[in-house]
Symmetry: C2
Subunit: 190 residues, 2 copies
């Protein structure tokens, strides 16, 4: 069965090639510039090949989003564990979150703006996004006091998400991002 294995390997490699191409194209030209035709041209296969890997364009976006969740979880984790105090950990996690959204906007959009179909607070939520949220909860737990940690986590995440998206569409004063982060962290720390 070695041939079968090699084929599966090749197929997985090609799938990754598609996801990477979609991601890079979205990052350079935005998601509106990502079409199945252009992706097919980039990976040097015909369109139907892409449809043998993914159900449709939305599925490709979802794959990019999944990759992003893994990276976000890892970066939040290292930001949290690298900090000396609980307060510094929270601040580091929040800053890492905003940096992620700012530096990879296309991936962030795929994760949180585009792919509506991805239940989070449900039983069938995939592992990666749950892990990322768990990192935020871990950073908040020591500072929660009498507040419900999970609710606090949802509010904190919402604030971060709002800061990230509104700032990027020029709806917040560009020069005050640091001040907003400071104020938010102070509110959460209390």
């Amino acid at each position: 069965m070695s041939i079968r294995e090699r084929r599966d390997r090749d197929r997985a490699r090609r799938q990754q090639l598609i996801v990477t191409a979609a991601r890079e194209l979205a990052e350079t030209e935005g998601w509106e510039g990502v079409t199945v035709r252009r992706l097919a041209e980039l990976v040097e296969y015909s369109q139907p090949v892409l449809y043998s890997h993914f159900k449709g364009k939305a599925d490709i976006v979802g794959a990019v989003a999944m990759e992003g969740f893994g990276e976000l979880a890892a970066e939040l984790h290292s930001a949290r564990t690298a900090a000396a105090s609980p307060a510094a950990a929270l601040r580091g996690v929040a800053a890492a979150y905003l940096l992620f959204a700012q530096s990879r906007p296309a991936v962030y959009d795929a994760m949180f703006v585009m792919s509506i179909e991805l239940p989070f607070a449900a039983a069938d939520t995939p592992a990666a996004p749950r892990t990322a949220f768990a990192e935020l909860l871990a950073a908040l737990a020591p500072l929660a006091g009498d507040r419900d940690v999970e609710t606090l986590g949802e509010v904190a995440w919402s604030a971060l998400h709002g800061l990230a998206t509104l700032a990027r569409s020029n709806r917040l004063r560009a020069s005050h991002q640091q001040a907003r982060l400071d104020l938010l962290v102070e509110q959460l720390t209390r």
Copy 2:
């Protein structure tokens, strides 16, 4: 020049007809179901007529967004002025904001998610969105203490925006919206 006036009146009425049709269609089937062809059919004109009113589809979305800003500003205002205390006013404004986003999701998307091109914190920001933001600031001002009101307003708005969008895509626990609102208002009041 009465004929000219009547024509302008008819034209304005037709423009409003298009905006209303777009809005209703988006509210019932989502923005992906709104096409120029369907809109033309709904208002019983051919496609080029729509392009004599709007530069393109994005422009129609923008018109719906503008209408939404006016309504949001009005609802935030009445929520704020109806409250007895500053704390109640803030809570009322926050609740009104979330109710707006929940009850008119398509309009909310047009305002904050779709039309990227609409600078907010800039000189040429239209009046309606600025008024809406001013309402939030007015509700926060009495409770700001030593915090910078404008920065606090941006953080509060970001949190509300995050709560609204993440809740709607099932990324927050549906049953805990009240608890999140309580916690957020308490944080802001402090």
